[in-house]
């Protein structure tokens, strides 16, 4: 009995000393991702995970909202329950996620909102890209290309993302604002592929059947432009006379950096995920105690055949 008491006392003593033995404070970052089923989302996850590795104080938990608002709300509640030190969230939709994000923020946990916003201002900071600006740059690029190539008229075929989604609307309206710089360039056809390469193929095939004189194919994301490229190749069109461009600029083997290097896409505009920036700001907020700006707008980058190799090195792209 005495021996037992002694052992118990020793255990309790060691346990009470343990916190003091730990060197630095460990922070748990909870990241609620809206879904894992798109390469761009996977890139965001990978970039966050890679950036977290740079900070030994950080531990990362990622949850998958499976593109469902209710599931994502449950995920955030779960992270709150686990008492994470900071929440990073890319919300599926603004309104359904606002209340639960406010709950986390009101509990004193910093919240960084990535890429898609929530309503109101009950969050620490928002980091995101500017789709309208990117669309405009794409439009200006096409306007210039049409002029350089002396195409008049210059027929543009647009493949849109999920119609009604803010990125698709912004990339469409921005593009048209940039395109007006060349009066002979016009969008003569616009179909949706809902961001998917597999849907882009049959849609583009039909449009190439209806219009034999397409000069430019503008995809709201690179995957759609690639799908159209395959359809154009199947249709026997003269690919050298056409320009295919898209948005995303991902460095993975089926991404646009490799595609531009291999001569399929003629241009791609990077839509940054903001993952790395989110983690860096998390460090500044938690460890350095800095007060961040409410909104950080990420710039874009442009990938052309002339700079593709350099961008490949910059973004650590993988060839296959």
């Amino acid at each position: 009995m005495r021996v037992l008491k002694a052992i118990l006392a020793a255990v309790v003593l060691t346990a009470s000393l343990a916190p003091g033995l730990a060197s630095a404070k460990q922070y748990v970052i909870g990241f609620s991702q809206l879904g894992f089923d798109h390469p761009w989302r996977v890139a965001m996850n990978n970039q966050i995970a890679a950036e977290v590795k740079k900070y030994p104080e950080f531990k990362l938990i990622i949850t998958n909202g499976q593109n469902d608002n209710s599931k994502q709300v449950a995920d955030v509640e779960n992270l709150l329950q686990q008492k994470v030190d900071l929440l990073i969230i890319s919300p599926n939709e603004a309104a359904p996620l606002t209340a639960v994000v406010k709950k986390v923020y009101d509990a004193g946990i910093p919240v960084i909102v990535l890429d898609r916003g929530v309503l109101g201002d009950a969050y620490t900071m928002f980091i995101g890209g500017d789709n309208k600006l990117i669309g405009e740059k794409a439009g200006e690029f096409v306007a210039k290309w049409c002029g350089d190539q002396k195409r008049s008229p210059c027929n543009v075929f647009e493949i849109t993302g999920l119609s009604g989604s803010p990125p698709a609307q912004d990339r469409a309206s921005g593009f048209r604002e940039g395109l007006v710089k060349n009066a002979s360039a016009k969008v003569i056809s616009s179909v949706t592929s809902e961001w998917q390469k597999e849907k882009a193929l049959p849609a583009a095939a039909a449009v190439f059947q209806a219009h034999k004189d397409i000069d430019v194919v503008y995809g709201h994301n690179d995957d759609s432009a690639e799908g159209a490229y395959i359809a154009a190749r199947n249709a026997g069109l003269d690919l050298k006379k056409m320009l295919f461009l898209g948005i995303d600029g991902l460095p993975d083997p089926t991404g646009s950096i490799v595609s531009v290097m291999q001569g399929r896409l003629g241009a791609s505009f990077v839509y940054p995920t903001g993952g790395a920036e989110g983690v860096d700001w998390a460090y500044k907020i938690l460890v350095k105690g800095e007060k961040p700006p409410k909104k950080v707008v990420l710039g874009t980058d442009e990938i052309y055949p002339s700079n593709a190799k350099e961008k490949c090195a910059k973004y650590e792209c993988k060839m296959n």
Partner: protein, 340 residues
């Protein structure tokens, strides 16, 4: 059987009318297809006097791009004929397509072993579905729903979340050129369409003229009576699910090779497309009635609707409305004719 020379003359015209009606009813499954072809042709844009919708290149394009749905629908027809369902085909397609890309482009396999392995994986998954349904007696809706989730998780865990590029040497890639036969053409017919037609004919003949085919219809019509008549019901079920898995794997091969990539996130909702094609084609969801030809017609019809809407540059939201309405209209006209 020869009738005696004292045959009643009044009966003859009625018999003739009966035969004509019978012939018409046999083709009632294709009425929807005909309606869509007519509407598509009427509303088609024309260029230099060519009706773009009916143009051979366009129709061949449509067949090329419905081939994957069509091949899966051939397998799904058999599954639905025995009164079951297979929700796992979309995930299986992603699994096999990604495996194909990995084998051809990364692991340096040649075409024949890749095809073999792909079909084997399809058979394995299908067989697993069948054994669980027939052996453990878990309803196929639940079993294949679970397999749908499991297979999707499996492909993401094994291959990561990113797509694997699949390009032939001739286009600067790392995969054997011969595999890309599946994306090419034989004369003017796209190979995917050819594969779909061949699988449809083989399966159709199998269902019509072999004991296995009769067992499929029997089990779907009345499983208890079939068992009492000596039909190996469990074996039939396993065989059907395995066949569906193999056909899905074939569709997956074509999918990956046509799309130049194997992606773990592809094939989502493909099961719905296949089921829609089968049901539109006249196969009853409770089993026992239906045909392969009807399912191919259903798949083709769905492709034609999409094609016509895209040719006419219809706004994508409006497309959804029109498609839904057209499907219901075409199928109700079929049902009306069947009843008369």
């Amino acid at each position: 059987m020869t009738s005696p020379s004292i045959a009643v003359p009044v009966a003859a015209p009625a018999r003739k009318r009966g035969r004509l009606l019978e012939k018409a009813l046999r083709f009632q499954g294709y009425l929807g297809l005909v309606i869509v072809l007519v509407i598509g042709a009427v509303f088609s844009p024309t260029k230099d006097g060519v009706n773009l919708f009916l143009d051979l290149t366009n129709q061949m394009n449509v067949l090329r791009y419905v081939a994957e749905t069509g091949i899966i629908a051939v397998g799904m027809t058999m599954v639905i004929l025995i009164g079951e369902i297979d929700l796992s085909v979309g995930s299986l397609l992603a699994l096999v397509a990604t495996l194909t890309a990995h084998l051809l482009a990364r692991a340096g396999y040649s075409t024949a072993p890749t095809i073999l392995l792909a079909l084997l994986v399809g058979a394995a998954v299908g067989c697993t579905n069948g054994v669980i349904v027939a052996g453990l007696r878990i309803p196929s809706f639940v079993t294949t729903l679970a397999m749908m989730t499991f297979a999707r998780g499996l492909v993401r865990v094994v291959f990561g979340g990113l797509a694997i590029p699949l390009l032939p040497h001739s286009l600067g890639g790392t995969a054997a050129d011969s595999a890309f036969f599946f994306a090419g053409k034989v004369s003017f017919i796209p190979v995917p369409a050819l594969v779909m037609l061949v699988m449809a004919v083989i399966t159709g003949l199998l269902l019509r003229f072999t004991p296995f085919g009769r067992h499929v219809y029997a089990v779907g019509g009345n499983a208890v009576a079939s068992r009492l008549s000596g039909v190996r019901v469990e074996l039939t079920r396993v065989a059907v699910f395995t066949a569906c898995g193999v056909l899905t794997a074939l569709a997956a091969l074509i999918h990956g090779i046509q799309l130049n990539q194997g992606a773990p996130n592809d094939g989502i909702t493909y099961e719905l497309n296949a089921i829609a094609a089968v049901v539109i084609g006249g196969t009853a969801l409770q089993g026992g009635i239906g045909s392969i030809a009807g399912s191919i017609a259903g798949a083709w019809m769905l492709g034609l609707i999409d094609n016509s809407l895209n040719l006419n540059n219809i706004n994508s939201d409006v497309q959804l409305l029109v498609k839904g309405a057209l499907i219901v209209a075409a199928v109700s006209l079929q049902r009306l004719q069947r009843r008369s």
